[in-house]
C-alpha cells in the first residue's frame, strides 16, 4: 500500500487518540514527579521506617546510607547536635539508634565518650544506654556502673531500670537486689515509678523484696498527695498522717507548701510550725519564705504565740543573712517591738559572723548595742580558728562598740586552744599576771583543750593557779578528762584536787563515768575520800545516775551496798526513776520499799502525793 492510500483518521477516533495520549502524558508526569520526590526524600531522611515488617535492607546497609566523612565517627554526633533545636536533636538520635545492633551501640557508646560538651554527651549516653538496655540490660547496667562519671551513675542507672522494668520486670528486680546503697535506691525508685501499671500489692511485693517498704509507702503517699493537690491542706494532711518519716518527704512537703501558699499566703508558715517536725521545718520555711523574705518576715511580726514567732522569724532572718547580711540586719532592726528586733538582729548577726566574720566586725555598728556581743564572739572565734594572732590584733577595733571585750577574748583563746592548746596556754600565761581575773577565765578554756593532749601538764598548770571564788582550775581539767579523755588518768589525778566548792561535784562526775564503765563498787568507795558533809550529796548523785542508767543492775546490787542508809537511798532513787520509766513490776517495787528508812519513806510519800 502506498502512502497515498493511508487515509486520515476519523474525527472521533482522532479525538479518542488525543485523549489517550493526553491521559498517558498526565500519568507519566505524575509518576515522574512522585518518583523524583521519593528518591530525594530517601536521601534526606535516611532510615524512616522500621524493619519489623522485614522489608528491606539490613541495618548496616542502612547505616551505610548515613553521610560519613573519611575521618569517621564523631561526625554523626556533630551533625545531630548541629540541629537547631534540642527537640530535633533528640528526635534524630532516637531515629538513628532505633535499629542499632548491640555492636553498633557499643561503637556509638565509644564515640559518645569523646563528646566534649557535657550536655551533649550526657544526653547521647542516656539514649544509647536506653537502647542498649532493650537488647542487653546487664551490659547496659555494667556500663553505667563502670564507665560513666560518678556524677552520672544515678541518671544512667535510672535510665536502665526504667527500661528494664518494663521489658523484664523480674530480672530488673533481681538486678536491683544486687546493688547497694544509693544505687539501689535509684533502681527501686525507677522501677516503682515506671511500673505504675502494677497493682499496689505487686508493687509492695517488689518493695518488700528489695527491703524498701518505706520507699513504697512514700511513693503511695506522694501519689495520694498529688491527687488531692487542688486542696493543698488535704495533701499536707496526707503526708503528715502516712507511715513515712516526714524527713524523707521534705521535697514533697515543699511542693505542697508552695501550692498552699497560693491559697493562704504566708499563713502556710504557721502550718509548717504546727507540724512539730523540727528536722525539716527549717527547709520548708526557707522554701516558702524565699519567694519574698520581707513578706514572710512581716507575717511573723503578727504571730501571737511567742515560740512560734521566734522560731519562724529566726529561720527567715538567718536565711536572709546568709545571702545578704547587711540588708537582713537593717530590716531586723526596724521591726517592732524592740525585743523582737533585738532577737532578730542577734540571729542575723550569728549567721553573719559565720559566713563573713571580717565583714561583720567591720560593720558592727550596724547592729544595735545589745545585739553585738554574741555575733562578735562568734566572728572572732571563726577568725581565730584560722589565725588567732589576727583575731587578737583585731580585737581593739571593736572596743568602742561593746561594754568590754573580755568574753570575746575568751572565745578567741578557746578556739585557738582547740588547734594549739600548748601555744594558747603559753600565751595566756605570758600575757596575764596571776592576779588578773581574766587569766583564770582564759586558762579555764585553754587548759580544757590541753587536758586532752597532755593531761598531766594541764593538771600541773592548773594546781599552780590560785583558787578563785572557791573554785579551782583543776576541776575543769578533771572534768574534761572524764568526759573526753581517759577515765583512769582522771582517777589518778583526782586525789590531788584541792578543796573547793566544786570538789564533790568533780568527784560526782568521775563517779558517774565509773558507773558507765561498770566500776560501780569503786564509784561507791570513792565517796570515802570526801568530807563527811559532802558525802550525802555525792552518794545521792551516784545512786541517782546508777538508777537511771542501769536500774536493773542497781536493783540486783542493793544488798551489796555497805550501809542501810545507802540501801535506802538507792531504793528511793530506783522507785523515783521507775515513775518516769516503769520497768519494775509492782512486786519488785514492794521489795524495794523494804529497804527504805523512815526518812526516805516519808520523802517518797510526799513526792508521790
Amino acid at each position: 500500500m502506498t502512502i497515498a492510500k493511508a487515509l486520515p483518521l476519523s474525527r472521533s477516533k482522532r479525538n479518542l487518540m488525543i485523549g489517550i495520549i493526553f491521559a498517558v502524558g498526565i500519568a507519566i508526569g505524575v509518576l515522574a514527579i512522585v518518583a523524583i520526590q521519593s528518591l530525594a526524600s530517601q536521601g534526606e531522611q535516611g532510615k524512616q521506617s522500621t524493619a519489623r515488617h522485614g522489608d528491606e535492607q539490613s541495618s548496616s546497609e542502612r547505616h551505610s546510607d548515613y553521610p560519613k566523612r573519611a575521618t569517621g565517627e564523631v561526625v554523626e554526633f556533630q551533625q545531630i547536635f548541629s540541629l537547631e533545636s534540642t527537640a530535633e536533636q533528640h528526635k534524630e538520635l532516637y531515629t538513628i539508634l532505633d535499629h542499632a545492633t548491640e555492636a553498633e551501640l557499643q561503637k556509638w557508646w565509644m564515640k559518645s565518650q569523646q563528646i566534649e560538651r557535657d550536655s551533649h554527651r550526657k544526653f547521647a549516653q542516656q539514649v544509647i544506654i536506653g537502647k542498649l538496655t532493650t537488647i542487653n540490660p546487664q551490659e547496659a547496667l555494667r556500663r553505667c556502673l563502670d564507665e560513666v562519671s560518678m556524677f552520672q551513675i544515678g541518671t544512667c542507672t535510672r535510665t536502665v531500670f526504667r527500661e528494664w522494668s518494663v521489658l523484664q520486670l523480674e530480672e530488673a528486680v533481681e538486678a536491683a537486689i544486687s546493688l547497694q546503697g544509693p544505687r539501689q535506691s535509684v533502681a527501686i525508685e525507677a522501677i516503682l515509678d515506671t511500673r505504675d501499671d502494677l497493682y499496689e500489692s505487686q508493687k509492695f511485693s517488689i518493695a518488700k523484696k528489695l527491703n524498701a517498704e518505706e520507699f513504697y509507702l512514700k511513693l503511695v503517699s506522694e501519689v495520694k498527695a498529688s491527687e488531692v493537690i487542688a486542696e493543698p491542706e488535704e495533701s499536707w494532711t496526707t503526708l503528715l498522717d502516712d507511715d513515712v518519716d516526714d524527713y524523707l518527704q521534705t521535697d514533697t512537703f515543699i511542693k505542697v507548701a508552695e501550692e498552699w501558699m497560693k491559697q493562704i499566703g504566708f499563713e502556710v508558715l504557721s502550718k509548717i510550725y504546727g507540724m512539730r517536725e523540727f528536722r525539716i521545718d527549717r527547709d520548708l520555711v526557707i522554701a516558702v519564705a524565699r519567694v519574698d523574705l520581707a513578706g514572710a518576715l512581716d507575717y511573723t511580726e503578727n504571730i501571737l504565740e511567742k515560740y512560734e514567732q521566734e522560731t519562724l522569724s529566726s529561720i527567715i532572718i538567718r536565711e536572709w543573712a546568709r545571702t545578704d547580711a547587711l540588708t537582713a540586719v537593717r530590716v531586723a532592726s526596724a521591726v517592732e517591738p524592740a525585743s523582737f528586733a533585738a532577737m532578730l538582729e542577734r540571729e542575723a548577726g550569728r549567721v553573719w559572723s559565720r559566713t563573713k566574720p571580717t565583714e561583720l566586725i567591720e560593720n558592727i555598728e550596724t547592729l544595735s548595742f545589745e545585739s553585738r556581743l554574741m555575733p562578735l564572739e562568734s566572728a572572732f572565734s571563726k577568725i581565730a580558728s584560722q589565725d588567732p594572732a589576727k583575731a587578737i590584733t583585731m580585737l581593739s577595733s571593736v572596743e568602742d562598740f561593746v561594754g568590754n571585750t573580755s568574753t570575746i577574748l575568751n572565745r578567741i583563746v578557746d578556739e585557738w586552744a582547740k588547734n594549739q592548746p600548748d601555744a594558747a596556754t603559753e600565751w595566756v600565761l605570758s600575757n596575764f599576771a596571776q592576779e588578773d581575773p581574766q587569766r583564770q577565765s582564759l586558762l579555764r578554756g585553754a587548759l580544757r583543750a590541753l587536758a586532752l593532749q597532755d593531761p598531766d601538764r594541764a593538771f600541773e598548770i592548773a594546781i599552780e593557779q590560785p583558787a578563785s571564788n572557791n573554785r579551782v582550775l583543776e576541776s575543769n581539767v578533771i572534768q574534761e578528762i572524764v568526759f573526753y579523755g581517759d577515765l583512769e588518768v582522771a582517777k589518778k589525778l583526782l586525789p590531788r584536787v584541792r578543796e573547793s566548792s566544786s570538789k564533790s561535784l568533780i568527784y560526782g562526775d568521775v563517779a558517774r563515768a565509773m558507773v558507765d564503765a561498770g566500776q560501780t563498787s569503786e564509784a561507791m568507795e570513792l565517796g570515802n575520800d570526801l568530807a563527811e558533809s559532802s558525802q550525802q550529796m555525792y552518794y545521792w548523785g551516784v545512786l541517782n545516775w546508777w538508777a537511771s542508767q542501769s536500774p536493773k543492775n542497781l536493783y540486783e546490787s542493793l544488798d551489796s551496798l555497805s550501809t542501810g542508809d545507802l540501801k535506802s537511798l538507792a531504793a528511793t532513787q530506783l522507785i523515783r526513776a521507775n515513775q518516769n520509766n516503769p520497768i519494775f513490776s509492782d512486786e519488785q517495787i514492794k521489795q524495794m520499799r523494804n529497804y527504805l528508812n523512815t526518812e526516805d519513806e516519808a520523802l517518797l510519800d510526799r513526792l508521790e502525793n
Partner: protein
C-alpha cells in the same frame, strides 16, 4: 509519500507530541499544586511506599495527625510500644512534623493520660516541640500541670528555649517567682555549657542566681577531679556555695571516696565537715552501703566524740531497714554505756518508722529503753488511730513495769489532733481520784487550752488540788494561755489560780510581760498583790528584765517603785554583766550607787 501526506504525518506527530508533553506537564503541575496549594502540614513529600512499610502502621506516623491530631487512639498506639525507648522514638517521629495547633491538641489529650509515667513521657516531648515553635505559649501550659510535675517540665521548656533563643529565655525567666526562676536558670546554664563561664555568670546575675551558677561550677570541678575524690570533697567544702545546697554532689563524692579508701572516709567526713547536717547525711550514705562494716569501723576509733557521733548516725540509718540486726550489732559495742545509748537510739528510730514491728519485737529491746520506745511507737499509731493504739496496749503489759506512761503518750498525741475528744475520753474513763486521770489530763488540758481555754481551765479547777511539788493543772493551762499571748484572759484567770499554783503563775506572767515589753503593766499588776507575793513578783520581773533587756532595765532603774527593788535590779545587772558585758564600766559604777547595804556585800558567783 506525497508532499501532502508528508505534511499530514508531521502535523499529526506534532499534535501527538504536543498532546503528550502537555499531559506530562499538566500531571507535574497537578502534583505540585496538590502539595503546595492545599495545606500539607509542612511535611516533607510523602513516600507512600515507605509509609505503608512503617512498623507501627499507625495513622499518627504517616501524617494523619492532620485529620485527628493527638487523638486518644494515637496516644494509645504510642504507648502500645512496650519499651520506653520506642515510646520516645515514636513520639518524636510523630510530633516532629506537627504544627503548633496539632501540638496543642496533643497537649490537651496528654492531660487525659491516666498513667503518670506515660503522661510524663508524653508531656516532656510535646512541650519540647511546643517550646521550639512558641516558647511563650509553651510556658503557659505549665499552669495545667500539678506542682509535682511542674519542675521537670519547666526544665524541659528552658532547656529547649535556652538553645533556640537564649535572650528571650532569660527575659522570661526573670518574670518567674524565685523557686521557678532557679529551675529555669539551672536548665539554661546546664544546656548552654557552650558559653564561657563569664557569660554564664552574667546570666546567673541577671536572674539573681549567682549561687546556682557557683554550685554548677563547683559540681563540675568536683566531677573533673573525681578520680581523686578527696580533692572533689575539698572543692565542694571550700567553694562559696552553702554546703547544704550541695548534698547531692557531696553524696556522690563520698560514695566514690568510699570505693577508694574504705571506711576511713567516715573519719574524714567527721573532721572536715563543719556543718553537722553534712556530717550526718554523708555518714548515712556510707551506712546505707554497708552498715555493719561502718559500725565495725567506729569500734576502733579513739576519739570518743567522733566514735559517738558516727556510730549514732550509722545505727539510726541502719534501724530504718533492719532494726533487729542493728540492735544485735549495737549490744556488743564498747563501752557498755555507749552500747546502751546506741540501742536506745535504734529503738526510738524503729518505733518512729515501724511502730507495729517495734511493738511486736519489743522483747529485743533492752529493758531500760523499752518504755520510751513503746511510748514513741504507740504515739505514732495514735496519730491516725488512737483507739487502735489503746486497744493494743494490753499486748505489751508483760514487757514493761506498767503502761501508764505509754497511755499518756497516746493521749498526748491524740489530744494534739482532737483535744476535746481526747479530754472527754480521759474524763469518762478515769475517776476523779485516780492518779492516772491527773497524769493524762496533764497531757490533754494544755492542748485543749489552745482550742477552748475556758473549758480547759474549768476542767483543771475541777480536779483535786495537787499536793507536794507537783504543778497544778490550773497552772499548766494558765501557762499555755499566757504563752499564747492572750494577756486579757490571763489576767482574768489569775485570781482563780489555786494557792499552790499562785507563785508559779505570777512567775510565768512576769516572764511573759517582760518578754513582750510590758514591764509597766507588770508593775501595775503587782500593786494589787499582798506584800510578800508582790515582792516576789517584782523580783521575778526584775530578774527576767535583766536577762531580756539589761540596757533598758538600767535606763529604768530610777523609776522602779522601791529602793529595795532598785538595789536588787542593780545587783542583778552587775552580776549579769560579768558574763554578758553589755553595760560599760561607767554604767556599772552608776548601777552600784543604787545598792543598799545588804546587797553591797553580795558577791557575784563569777568574781
Amino acid at each position: 509519500m506525497t508532499k501532502d501526506t508528508k505534511v499530514g504525518v508531521s502535523k499529526r506527530s506534532v499534535v501527538i507530541a504536543g498532546t503528550f508533553a502537555t499531559g506530562i506537564a499538566l500531571g507535574i503541575l497537578a502534583v505540585v499544586a496538590f502539595q503546595n496549594i492545599i495545606p500539607q502540614n509542612e511535611r516533607p513529600p510523602l513516600d507512600i511506599a515507605q509509609a505503608e512499610s512503617n512498623e507501627t502502621g499507625t495513622k499518627s506516623d504517616i501524617g494523619l495527625s492532620s485529620l485527628n491530631p493527638g487523638g486518644d487512639g494515637q496516644i494509645e498506639e504510642i504507648f502500645k510500644h512496650k519499651s520506653v525507648f520506642d515510646q520516645y522514638r515514636a513520639l518524636h517521629a510523630t510530633l516532629s512534623p506537627a504544627t503548633e495547633h496539632e501540638l496543642i491538641d496533643w497537649w490537651i489529650q496528654s492531660k487525659k493520660i491516666e498513667r503518670a509515667s506515660h503522661r510524663e513521657i508524653a508531656q516532656q516531648v510535646i512541650l519540647r516541640y511546643l517550646t521550639a515553635i512558641n516558647p511563650q505559649q509553651a510556658i503557659q501550659y505549665l499552669d495545667d500541670v500539678t506542682v509535682f510535675e511542674r519542675d521537670s517540665l519547666l526544665m524541659t521548656v528552658f532547656s529547649e528555649w535556652g538553645v533556640s533563643n537564649l535572650d528571650s529565655a532569660i527575659e522570661a525567666a526573670v518574670d518567674l517567682i524565685s523557686p521557678q526562676r532557679t529551675i529555669a536558670l539551672q536548665a539554661i546554664l546546664e544546656i548552654r555549657d557552650d558559653l564561657s563561664d563569664s557569660q554564664r555568670r552574667s546570666i546567673a546575675l541577671q536572674l539573681d542566681g549567682e549561687e546556682t551558677y557557683l554550685k554548677l561550677i563547683g559540681d563540675k570541678q568536683a566531677a573533673q577531679s573525681i578520680a581523686e575524690p578527696e580533692d572533689s570533697w575539698n572543692i565542694l567544702l571550700n567553694d562559696n556555695v552553702y554546703d547544704r545546697q550541695q548534698l547531692q554532689a557531696l553524696a556522690v563524692v563520698v560514695e566514690a571516696w568510699f570505693d577508694q579508701a574504705g571506711f576511713e572516709v567516715l573519719s574524714n567526713i567527721y573532721s572536715d565537715a563543719e556543718d553537722f547536717r553534712i556530717k550526718a547525711n554523708m555518714t548515712r550514705i556510707i551506712a546505707q552501703i554497708d552498715p555493719n562494716g561502718a559500725l565495725d569501723y567506729t569500734r576502733g576509733l579513739e576519739d570518743a566524740e567522733q566514735k559517738w557521733f558516727l556510730s549514732y548516725e550509722i545505727v539510726r540509718e541502719w534501724a530504718r531497714t533492719d532494726a533487729l540486726a542493728a540492735l544485735a550489732a549495737a549490744t556488743t559495742f564498747e563501752p557498755p554505756s555507749v552500747a546502751s545509748e546506741l540501742e536506745t537510739a535504734i529503738s526510738y528510730r524503729w518505733a518512729g518508722s515501724r511502730p507495729f514491728e517495734a511493738i511486736e519485737n519489743i522483747e529485743a529491746v533492752s529493758v531500760n529503753a523499752r518504755v520510751v520506745t513503746l511510748q514513741i511507737a504507740f504515739a505514732n499509731i495514735a496519730r491516725t488511730d488512737p483507739s487502735e493504739a489503746i486497744a493494743m496496749l494490753s499486748s505489751v503489759e508483760n514487757s514493761v513495769g506498767n503502761t501508764s506512761t505509754i497511755l499518756a503518750s497516746i493521749v498526748s498525741e491524740w489530744s494534739s489532733q482532737q483535744p476535746s475528744v481526747a479530754t472527754d475520753w480521759v474524763i469518762d474513763n478515769f475517776v476523779r481520784e485516780d492518779p492516772q486521770r491527773r497524769m493524762l489530763l496533764e497531757e490533754a488540758l494544755p492542748t485543749l487550752a489552745l482550742e477552748d481555754p475556758n473549758k480547759a481551765f474549768e476542767l483543771a479547777l475541777a480536779q483535786p488540788e495537787s499536793e507536794g511539788t507537783a504543778l497544778g493543772l490550773d497552772f499548766l493551762v494558765f501557762r499555755t494561755i499566757a504563752r499564747q499571748g492572750d494577756l486579757e484572759l490571763t489576767k482574768t484567770l489569775l485570781p482563780q489560780i489555786r494557792e499552790n499554783s499562785e507563785i508559779y503563775a505570777y512567775s510565768e506572767l512576769a516572764e511573759v510581760l517582760v518578754e513582750t515589753g510590758k514591764t509597766d503593766e507588770a508593775f501595775k499588776l503587782g500593786k494589787g498583790l499582798e506584800e510578800e507575793l508582790r515582792q516576789f513578783f517584782y523580783q521575778r520581773v526584775v530578774q527576767d528584765w535583766t536577762w531580756e533587756d539589761p540596757k533598758n532595765l538600767f535606763e529604768s532603774l530610777e523609776e522602779l517603785p522601791s529602793k529595795e527593788l532598785k538595789s536588787k535590779a542593780a545587783e542583778r545587772l552587775i552580776a549579769n554583766n560579768e558574763w554578758k558585758p553589755l553595760l560599760t564600766d561607767e554604767e556599772i559604777e552608776h548601777a552600784k550607787t543604787f545598792l543598799i547595804a545588804e546587797d553591797k556585800g553580795r558577791k557575784s558567783p563569777f568574781e
